[in-house]
Amino acid sequence: MSRSLTNRFGLGLLGLGLLSAGLVSVCVTAVTRGAAQLLPSYGTLAGVTSQLPTAGAPLLPADRLGTLGGALVVVVAGLLLAALGLVWLISQIPRHSPALPFRFHDDVSSGITSLSPKVLARMVDRDVLAHPGVTAARTVLGGSTRSPHVLLRLTAYELTDLTQLVDDLERTVMTDLSTALERPIEHLSMEISLGADRPVVKDVAVRDHTAATEREPQPVPG
């Protein structure tokens, strides 16, 4: 069951429980406070109203919490509650199913060629970061060599031309990666966030031949 469905089911169940308990309590309180006179005193309703508690009656019937058995029941109930909550809480942690290595060999007798998707993903990251305006990139590859999926999460400078960026990324990532994998990419997903960080111009380490020094990349002015 998906996380969304589990959450909605759990919240809905709890909500319905609270809602119905609250509504019943409100109705009973209203009756004990004198609303009973408004109800017809005949038929089945008369039977129901006579069963209802009167004002001042204790909310809970005499409990057995003082006994040993009562405490044991409470321990079990508490354990169940805590375990249920813990499982539900843990299921909120996002998990990525481990990506399989891409396997390029057809016949094991002639050798095995496999490539970790992480290695490939770092290479894509580097390519994406080379695009103008991109300040951070994180690629996740999935699927198999036969049907590769790409998830690209990146941050770009807020004044970057988004149409151009999406267009470029779509073209280069799809082309380069499908060349590397020798397969067309089945699906490419991009989540582009914008940030105020200005991109650092890469690969402009100026080599001064006379002084033979390298300068650090400088942030773009403006």
């Binding site: 969304s4 959450n7 909605r8 089911f9 004990t32 001042g56 249920l84 199913s97 073209r171 699906h187």
Partner: protein, 186 residues
Amino acid sequence: MSRRLRLRRRPRRTLPAALVAALLVVLGTLTVLAAVLRLIDGAWPGPAERTLSAVRSLTWGSGLVLTVAVIAVLLGGWLVVLACSPGRFRHYRLRTAGANTEAVLPHTSLARLAVAHARSVDGVQRVVAIAAGRTVRVRVDTPESSTGALRTAVTDRVRRALSASGLDPVPRVVVVVRLRNTGGQP
């Protein structure tokens, strides 16, 4: 990750579910702790005893019961709404060339884009933008009295930026300009 990823989706209600789950864990742990102490010592520990006696002394028709019941109704109703309502999207879709490509932009990022472009208009002192669904609301503070002209300029600039960003569809832009007197300046 064998399933196809969908970036633009309805909220998964992670935060409320995590809060409720954490509450269950805390309640369950405290209950087990109290009951185990009861089994060891033969008497409920102080806080548990006080809670128990308070619950035992509750009577029908009392104001406290009614208050708790009303709170339960409101809270339960809210949880049911959270469970049943699909919830708003938090991403905008960006136009892509290929059919098997998907690109999305978070609402917060679109607000940031609107702010960045509005700030570049002359006469703008402070900008706040909220992007929610089909409307982007931009609030601009300015020390200049020609608020009408500034409003048109900002609206134009932001609208142009949004249509250039490849959003599909392009949200509506609503700009509000407020006159702010900055004390020291003439």
